[in-house]
Subunit: 236 residues, 2 copies
Amino acid sequence: MRAQTRPQPPNSLNGLPSLAARLGHSFHQPALLRQALTHRSHSGINNERLEFLGDSVLNCVVASLLYQRFPKLPEGDLSRLRAHLVREATLCELAVVLDLGSQLLLGEGEMKSGGRRRPSVLADALEAIIGAIYLDGGFSAAEATVTRLYQDRLFDLDPGSLGKDPKTLLQEYLQGRRIALPQYTVLATAGDAHCQIFRVECSIPVLGISTQGEGSSRRAAEQLAAQAAYEVASRA
Amino acid sequence: MRAQTRPQPPNSLNGLPSLAARLGHSFHQPALLRQALTHRSHSGINNERLEFLGDSVLNCVVASLLYQRFPKLPEGDLSRLRAHLVREATLCELAVVLDLGSQLLLGEGEMKSGGRRRPSVLADALEAIIGAIYLDGGFSAAEATVTRLYQDRLFDLDPGSLGKDPKTLLQEYLQGRRIALPQYTVLATAGDAHCQIFRVECSIPVLGISTQGEGSSRRAAEQLAAQAAYEVASRA
């Protein structure tokens, strides 16, 4: 996380009508959309309660979409796919496409430290917006917006791989070919105790593969190294 | 957990119409209700996928009910209350009131080992029923049933204490009175390694309180001892 250096646009809600259009929902109560975009650093009346509500509405709609899209899939796989679709990284990608960042109302400190592009802030705001649409137009309105937001992702979803982490994917790939499991080795650590960086090697000798990953935890570094190894192995 | 000794009623669906009446939902597709009552031990076509769906519908409706019932409550408290309302123990109580147990379709082994009264089986079936109602009648039908099921509980809910475990409640009670925290001591363990029983004492010397609790884990026993101590202390 580097400090934000680019100039930040001031708080402004000029873009609300076009955001509503991108969401496909015309608000009867525009104050709800404004509240959904308000970070706690900006005001006591903020989006935290709406986020609680929207999180559960989103989970419900996505569960329903998956249930219908994959009529034979066991519930364990449905859970895994849902976790993938509602995780912070996915929500953040959707928020970027909607250009939520420019519409957020942030406190000055949050703004200067890059709040407009912080994944957690963006994901929370998107959940809050879904909660606001639910309050404004009922479940069917929220369902319509979520369905539109997730349309492409649902269509592209591959239950066989999506939602599995790279180490699991790599392990399954190797087991399917009766190849010994990869070895993970910490090559180096750097930084202070509270801000360490790990460099890990993933090695699959029989395939001549050796990749590396760096992360703020050993686990994160292993996943990145596994991801690289999986890409090499499955391309070969 | 003792083995079931009372005679078990055979699988029967004679009571489905009256169950539907208790749920307040008349099924257009009764097969959905039947599936919601079918445990995986009975059939490959069972309630597991419906449970996945119903769990998320239940979470969403309860979130919405809490959001409206407590307009000022922070989202952390809303989350805690929701967790309390959708946990297995609460669902099991609701399932008992609905007499779900007698309507379950179970495999023979599950039936003989007391499946009709097993909290996880009952809770899962209730979630599956909520999923079935959602598929049969849409979100509003599921919302109506969940609202009816939870009406009394929502009315009685005290955000200040409900959902907090007894150890936390006791600790907060003592801290509010500047009294030293209770001591928990394991007095005895009994049973085999895979089925141990712990007896724990909770002692608050300055109040002259000493209570005991027994459970299958040290933590469970501590909670029961804390519950007893809290009742004594708050009555005094």
